[in-house]
Symmetry: C2
Subunit: 357 residues, 2 copies
Amino acid sequence: MGSTDRPVSPRFLVLAEQRFDTLYAKTAICAIRYLPGQIAAVIDSNLSGRSVEDVLGFGGDIPIVSNLEEGLARDPDALLIGIAPAGGRLPAKWVELCVGAAEAGLDLWSGMHGPLAADPAVAAAARAAGIQLHDLRVPSRSFPVATGAALDVDALVILTVGSDCAVGKLTASLELAEELKRSGVAALMVPTGQTGILIAGWGVAVDAVPSDFVSGATEWLVLEGASRGGEVLLVEGQGALSHPGYSGVTLGLLHGSLPHGMILCHEPGREHHIGGGLEWTAVPELPAVVEMYEAAASWIRPAKVLGIALNTSEVSEREAHRLVDEARDVTGLPAADPVRFGAGSLTEPILELRSAV
Amino acid sequence: MGSTDRPVSPRFLVLAEQRFDTLYAKTAICAIRYLPGQIAAVIDSNLSGRSVEDVLGFGGDIPIVSNLEEGLARDPDALLIGIAPAGGRLPAKWVELCVGAAEAGLDLWSGMHGPLAADPAVAAAARAAGIQLHDLRVPSRSFPVATGAALDVDALVILTVGSDCAVGKLTASLELAEELKRSGVAALMVPTGQTGILIAGWGVAVDAVPSDFVSGATEWLVLEGASRGGEVLLVEGQGALSHPGYSGVTLGLLHGSLPHGMILCHEPGREHHIGGGLEWTAVPELPAVVEMYEAAASWIRPAKVLGIALNTSEVSEREAHRLVDEARDVTGLPAADPVRFGAGSLTEPILELRSAV
């Protein structure tokens, strides 16, 4: 992706119109957290005039602006579509904004299922302006059916799994990898979705691969992560086994990566699974979620949940400590919010497992 | 698919070169069983000179021929690629055969992942000859993420599931639908793969849909089956929960169709899952397979396995009876080989469930 005469680390203008303070802005929020110094501004007309720090509690003085023109004044190199709506199509009103950004010389980056290159107006504007389209979700190659080749890697494979979508699997994977590196272990996050690819610069959005090859793509990613020198691979999970829309992706990831252990990610207080029309579902209790993943792993290669990574970003610090204690008590497993309180208690069981296998 | 000036029920020349007597010829074999009168000949140079009946034990005097020229002498309207190799790409030597068939005026039908239309030589030959390309595996539309809409249909939804690929899920679905129709019930097989689509004339190959939408495509199929008047829907299953390559497809189907009950299909004696490099896997024992599917269903909507459909085509009648008895004994469920001994004992629990819900 990208050409050599473009900035390797572009400064992004991040589109998060009307959604920056929602779960649907996870690409925008992860970019702000893990690409520090590369964010010129965020577009959200609902929140314009405030700073990112003011809304998220981190991110410093990155401004929130109300439209493209104000964003261009912040000297970005590229427009990043920071929202991944369910279904993943480019809304009509964003096409105009993408065309305007292209005409202003910005590269366009998107993680949606529907590629930018497939929109005639956007593609024409890109050609005319000579800018690059980066479709992070579009697989760059095809994959074979999985055969269990992940079993043969020397690396320890840890998969982050979840009680729902958008509970912090990518964040936990990145924080665990950083904490392991601080312990001197060559740890690597293995990106399986558009935001992980944006941050790491490689990977495959496995949910965009034909379903026959979702395990095959995951297997390829594990082999690739090992060949990149990862001794502990933190494979970014997707979806949830109890999510009616995405469970197939989740199981494909589990059986393609065939992990040695899992870290379960959870946001307390989530009542039903994310997505329109899913109010009838329930996010199961943590012990039931642990049981699901261990059952599904056992169908091919048994693996245990090693710890619970909580996302407590919506509650007070005092309540966060209570929720961590509660998660530990109900599951009997180490628990932490790796962003808020550090990932050390979760890397311990990973390092123990590494000594044991 | 197809144009109105072509035969609605073409006479197929079926390509099964060197594989007609293997598991990989399931499209060819199902076409012969369920499209009687529409098969002109089968190409397999290993078996040429014999009849289909002689090799399969059914199919009458359909000839097996050694090449395209001999096949054309049997006056076909279309060439059907009757083999679906893992990975699904068109081997180079078949391209020549497809081009020859197109030049002779035959339409081309394929169930492979790689569309005929994507092969430059085949596409050029098709244009030059004015024949139609029918890519059964290529989804004809896009789908939303599933929301559980299958729960709202009035029909009773029965999903066939399996201990492996190619154990007879489509066959069981078709035989159960026929047996239910004989009981006066408006039953309908819901096709989820290329061979089911070939036989029924509608459907979606869910394994070719991007994995984010595999449940959504299945949900759409269930709604479509109900709108076509099916009061009992026999949803064709795919893959197996313990197959490292395909388990994501299998779970997506289960959570997209959200069935009221399942019929478990199994071929006794299968030692490992089908596919190159899968010798290290084991096909689990039947009670363990029942437990897997009931666990996975319970994550969203509980459903029971109602009976066991065995494929005993490879053993003697005496051994088949013993295997049916054994399957019944170890699971405590009704068991039958629906092709060999009739599907009545398996439709009984379906009709009972229909009265109860």
